[in-house]
């Protein structure tokens, strides 16, 4: 699995990763491989280090030890292959800018220094807004968007990055059922075209329905693999620790009635 050639074909390989803010490690000896063309969920309680894992893959936080490769090379060499949907709260939505401008920012990386977005970028951005059902909001101030609309705009921006691998930090946070379905449909389309999606997800109930692969995280990796194999009651309990008072009844049987695990958080 770890041979040179295999690594080349692996969208993301994280090896012996440890990350600490100040002194406390928030990720400890994390070792995961993320396979191509799959929808991959990162699941774990609040503070488990899910956002930090994504940020360390994207070079946004310094690694204490270990390394990360994207298709066998460093992130730096491969960043044009990567799209990112940060947690919605990570930007100031009162910033004086429009929906279209935000989506165009997804293309700044490829535009490079000094060059401004032109007609081509504008068209691509509009197309991406179209895909997420937000075309009519192109000239809206972002401060006037609802939470779900903001999330769609972030998704459109990631689409504009035209990546091979997408990292999405809680794309369903604060969106209604309709928007969630729309977002899932777009994700599936991306998967059909061979892209890899890595998604921080909070609703355990929908993991089997949406995802092919799951990484259960709580500072360490509790389990990682195909959902039907590793997403077990035992693993979930281990990830969520003693705080798991309700357990999904029939985890591992996607058709079974699952109870929400969100009510368990702290």
């Amino acid at each position: 699995m770890d041979s040179e050639e295999a690594l080349d074909r692996l969208p993301v390989a994280v090896r012996d990763l440890t990350v600490a803010y100040r002194d406390t490690p928030v990720l400890w000896d994390v070792d995961v491989s993320m396979p191509e063309g799959k929808m991959i969920a990162i699941v774990g309680p609040n503070g488990a280090g899910k956002s930090t894992l994504i940020k360390s893959i994207l070079n946004l936080v310094p690694l204490t030890s270990g390394n990360v490769t994207i298709y066998g090379k460093t992130y730096k060499a491969q960043r044009s292959m990567v799209g990112y949907v940060p947690q919605r709260g990570s930007v100031d939505w009162d910033f004086p800018t429009t929906t279209l401008d935000v989506v165009q920012m997804g293309m700044y990386g490829k535009l490079g220094w000094i060059r401004r977005p032109g007609k081509r970028e504008r068209d691509v951005a509009l197309e991406c807004l179209e895909k997420v059902g937000m075309a009519s909001y192109a000239n809206r101030q972002i401060s006037q968007l609802s939470g779900g609309q903001q999330q769609r705009v972030f998704l459109a921006r990631a689409l504009a990055q035209d990546a091979q691998i997408y990292f999405m930090d809680e794309p369903f946070a604060g969106v209604d059922a309709t928007t969630e379905r729309a977002i899932v449909d777009i994700m599936r389309e991306l998967r059909e075209s061979g892209k890899t999606l890595v998604v921080v997800h909070h609703n355990l109930e929908t993991v089997p329905e949406y995802f092919d692969w799951v990484i259960l995280l709580n500072v360490r990796v509790i389990a990682s693999g195909p959902v039907e194999e590793v997403f077990t009651r035992e693993a979930i309990q281990k990830a969520y620790g003693g705080r798991m008072t309700f357990l999904p009844d029939s985890v591992g049987e996607p058709s079974g009635p699952l109870r929400r695990a969100e009510s368990l958080g702290d």
Binding site: K55, L58, N59, L60, K76, R79, V82, Y84, P86, S90, V91, D92, F95, P96, T97, T98, D101, V102, M105, G106, Y108, G109, L111, W113, I114, R115, R116, P117, Q141, S143, S146, G147, G148, Q149, R157, Q161, A173, G174, V175, D176, T178, T179, E262
Partner: protein, 299 residues
């Protein structure tokens, strides 16, 4: 009536002052917009204070005060960049402590000079009526450079201001861009010192931009308004200073503050008045917006 405006301009020192304040207003309005967008008022203040010893030293040595100020401005911009490297640019007591100390150093240095009482006033509060042709020329040339840098890096500076993570993950050197912004701010401070002085420069940097921010939600409009408001404040302040013999720096800043207060109350969307109206009449509206807004937080 017309004389009110034309008479001052018959004096060469007023012509120079007008030119100077127009250039400085444009610069402060433009660069100040980024200070406001990034929430860097505190750091702007630290920068302004920290250049003071440089001002005093070059003054004592008989050089143009911009010389010493720019040396200290450069050092300070780099220093602040390094201090906040780990934490991103933000409020930081270390910055406050160090650069208040710089200011104290300037005061001590100045007290060693003879005749320091008169000079203290002009250094702290500006001396726009005393600017020379050379000063105006320097301000203009440096100003052109600042405007060019902002214009060239507009996309990058905006990206970093809105979403640092995206900037970083798409390969822009965020730290370098932060340093560039700090250098732009400190250079603007340096060339603006003579207009309103060390203590009030922050107001010229922040107040017009904050006013513009209240008036619009469009970035380019904000830049334009900020520049216009800063220039208008400067020009009105100068006239007030001339006709009523009050300190120009103070008059300029107070004019800017009055414009800010007016905007705070009457601004179409963010103004206190329209928000009140919205709350009363618009109750309907607000509810409706939320209903279609899908704004259901799931915890």
């Amino acid at each position: 009536m017309l004389e009110f405006f034309t008479e001052p301009l018959s004096f060469p020192f007023m012509q120079r002052a007008m030119l100077e304040i127009i250039i400085v207003g444009a610069l402060c309005g433009l660069v100040g917009s980024f200070v406001v967008l990034r929430g860097l008022a505190f750091i702007g203040d630290a920068l302004a204070h920290a250049v003071f010893p440089g001002v005093v030293l070059s003054y004592a040595a008989g050089h143009n005060i911009m010389l010493g100020a720019s040396v200290f401005g450069l050092l300070t911009a780099l220093g602040i960049g390094l201090i906040s490297r780990s934490k991103r640019l933000s409020h930081d007591s270390a910055i406050g402590v160090i650069f208040a100390a710089f200011f104290a150093l300037g005061v001590v240095l100045l007290s060693r000079q003879t005749g320091f009482r008169q000079d203290l006033g002009s250094l702290l509060f500006g001396n726009i009526l005393g600017v020379s042709r050379q000063d105006v020329l320097i301000t203009f040339v440096v100003g052109l450079v600042i405007v060019a840098v902002v214009f060239l890096l507009l996309k990058e500076l905006t990206l970093v201001a809105f979403d640092t993570n995206l900037a970083h993950s798409t390969g822009y050197p965020v730290f370098t861009l932060d340093i560039i912004l700090l250098l732009l701010v400190s250079t603007t401070v340096v060339v603006s010192l003579q207009t309103v002085g060390n203590l009030l420069i922050l107001a010229l940097l922040v107040t017009p931009a904050a006013t513009a921010r209240l008036l619009t939600d469009r970035l380019n409009t904000m830049f334009a308004l900020s520049v216009a408001i800063a220039i208008i404040s400067g020009v009105i302040g100068l006239y007030i200073s001339f006709h009523w013999s009050v300190a120009a720096g103070g008059a300029i800043v107070l004019t800017a503050t009055v414009l800010f207060a007016v905007a705070l109350v009457f601004a179409p969307q963010h103004g206190l008045l329209s928000q009140q109206l919205h709350r009363r009449q618009g109750k309907h509206h607000v509810h409706h917006f939320h209903a279609e807004g899908e704004d259901l937080e799931v915890h």
